[in-house]
Amino acid sequence: MTTWLFRRLIQALFVILAMTVIVFLGVNVIGDPVEILISPDADQAERARAIIALGLDKPLWQQYLIFLQGALHGDLGRSFVFNEPALRLIGQRMPATMELAVTAVLLSIVLGIPLGLYAGLYPDSILGRSAMAGSILGFSLPTFWVGLMFIMVFAVELGWLPSTGRGATAAFLGVQWSFLTRDGLAHMAMPALNLSLGNIALVLRLTRAGVRENLPMDYVRFARAKGLSPARVVFVHVMKNILIPIVTVIGLEFGSTIAFSVVTESVFAWPGMGKLIIDSINVLDRPVIVAYLMMIVFLFIVINLIVDLLYTALDPRVRLESRQ
């Protein structure tokens, strides 16, 4: 177990290192921030001074090493635009994105699993069929389009929900959260649902497939032959088996939900990290872009690790293998 964890951490370190190179090179390919940041009427000397101030006069490899050195000390550079540490900027926006992503994932669990169970147990029922048909829409409709439709219907036509922003927030652990106020929740409803549609569809289909696959298995029939109630057979015997892939996927989806919140945050003007990164890309604020991408990579690594740990907790067969 410890060697396994150690090996995983070493692996993670290499992944992060590789990502720094890719991200750093990638950002340099997108465009030259000097053109955007420095006013066109600045003279040569001013230009040169600004370039030196941004550290862009040095060769790329040197910039990279400077970045790496900073990164080792937890400093991912200062935003060209805000002149603030990039990490702090991201940190300020993170709670907004996190609460959106967590709500979206919770929605996918709370709606996806029961609907998937139902659709798996009663595949020919009207609800089961509708859930399956709906899940195809959940997959295939583009997020931004659904978001716009939500705004059209619920904000513009019906006027039930506010269309933009986080609404009122309240402090908890020194951070401002929307989910703690009524107004904040009203603001969160549409973006969270928008963000979770794909996940709901995925969890629903996965659950249904798991149920369909497990029901004909001998262990289910044996459980029934023992005289167990249908509830116990489904919620304990079948559920424990299908939870393994579901937990894996939900965990991995959590990462991409955060990454994809870019679209939803833009549509609903939700002041989260996604909004920040889009704005930063527009002005080629390299340190923020790099810091954001590194943060996402880090997040994915942490999530993968947690999923693997959960996996071992859920599946006894995996546990044995990791011990050997």
């Binding site: 032959a225 116990r232 599946d315």
Partner: protein
């Protein structure tokens, strides 16, 4: 007769598939008495498993019991509500499945799977249920049962898993156990051990046993009566001596081949030339006639069940005369 545990009468279980009706069990009758062992033999696909599942009412759609009665202590199981049936399953009637690798839930510990069975039918504390589970494991010869309770199925060998399944079947000292080829997947020594133990337990507790198998040598040593199934029907049934030593049905005779000795172990069912007919829309007449050396025009009709001797049932127009060469 109060000693009659199970009496199946004219049972019919059909699968209503898209391609047509599969008559997996057609007009099957047999009975098992307290403490006795009935061997149900037949080739693959003859309907043995479906018969077993029909008795505990676990035939899933598109299959269903289409007729007949299943009298368990005189009560017709076919007429019970699902709830009443659930009270009997695992309690008064237990089943052991063919493949021990697949019957236990891979992600639940043995204790969970045993304790839930105890508590499904008896209002006892967790500790009491656990104690009963441990005793049952000990009874089927699993060493250090207390520790083994905390294992997962994958930590057991196939033979040990089948013992666990048998222990689960024994938890409530059922009146009837349906054992569906429980030893086929195991090696010969373990088979013999399990057979001996099950036989002993059945005799001690008075459990009636239906032992489904391909392996004639197993039933020869174990069963009191034998029923031979072919294409969803019982073609010959009677006590072991009658059926194995002096088979009257050409199919039974074919199965036994030229070594009818019932004490000779290792006598597998002999391959009979030809194929089992598809049970889908089976034409009228004896289902065996395409493979039968004695078939004639009379066999184009369904042979009725006759009773050439007391306790000996037969479905054939031209029974073999004794002694069989």
């Amino acid at each position: 007769m109060s000693d009659m545990t199970l009496e199946v009468r004219n049972l019919r279980t059909h699968f209503f598939t898209r391609a047509g009706v599969v008559r997996a069990v057609e007009d099957v009758s047999f009975s098992v008495q307290r403490g006795r062992v009935l061997g149900l033999v037949g080739e693959s696909g003859s309907g043995k498993t479906v018969t077993g599942f029909s008795i505990i009412r676990l035939v899933d759609p598109p299959g269903r019991i289409a007729g007949g009665s299943i009298l368990f202590h005189g009560r017709d199981l076919a007429k019970l509500s699902e709830r009443e049936m659930r009270g009997l399953r695992g309690n008064r009637i237990a089943m052991i499945f063919q493949d021990p690798m697949m019957t236990l839930n891979p992600v639940l510990r043995i204790d969970t799977q045993m304790i839930e069975t105890v508590r499904a039918h008896a209002k006892v504390s967790h500790a009491e249920a656990r104690a009963r589970s441990r005793d049952a494991l000990g009874m089927v010869g699993i060493p250090s049962p207390d520790e083994r309770l905390e294992s997962y199925p994958h930590q057991f060998s196939g033979g040990m898993r089948q013992r666990v399944a048998i222990a689960i079947a024994l938890l409530h000292r059922p009146d009837l156990i349906i054992a569906d080829e429980p030893t086929t997947a195991l090696d010969v020594t373990i088979q013999a051990q399990i057979l001996a133990e099950v036989q002993k337990l059945a005799a001690n507790v008075g459990t009636a046993l239906i032992w489904i198998t391909h392996d004639l040598s197993v039933v020869a040593g174990l069963a009191d009566e034998i029923a031979v199934m072919y294409a969803g029907r019982i073609v010959e049934a009677g006590d072991v001596a009658t059926v194995l030593d002096r088979p009257s049905h050409p199919y039974t005779h074919g199965l036994i081949g030229s070594v009818p000795s019932r004490n000779k172990r290792g006598t597998r069912l002999r391959q009979i030339p030809g194929m089992t007919p598809s049970l889908l829309d089976l034409p009228e007449g004896c289902a065996f006639r395409a493979r039968c050396a004695y078939a004639d025009a009379a066999c184009e009709k369904d042979p009725p069940t006759t009773e050439p001797a007391r306790g000996h049932a037969l479905r054939c127009f031209h029974p073999l005369l004794e002694p069989v060469a």
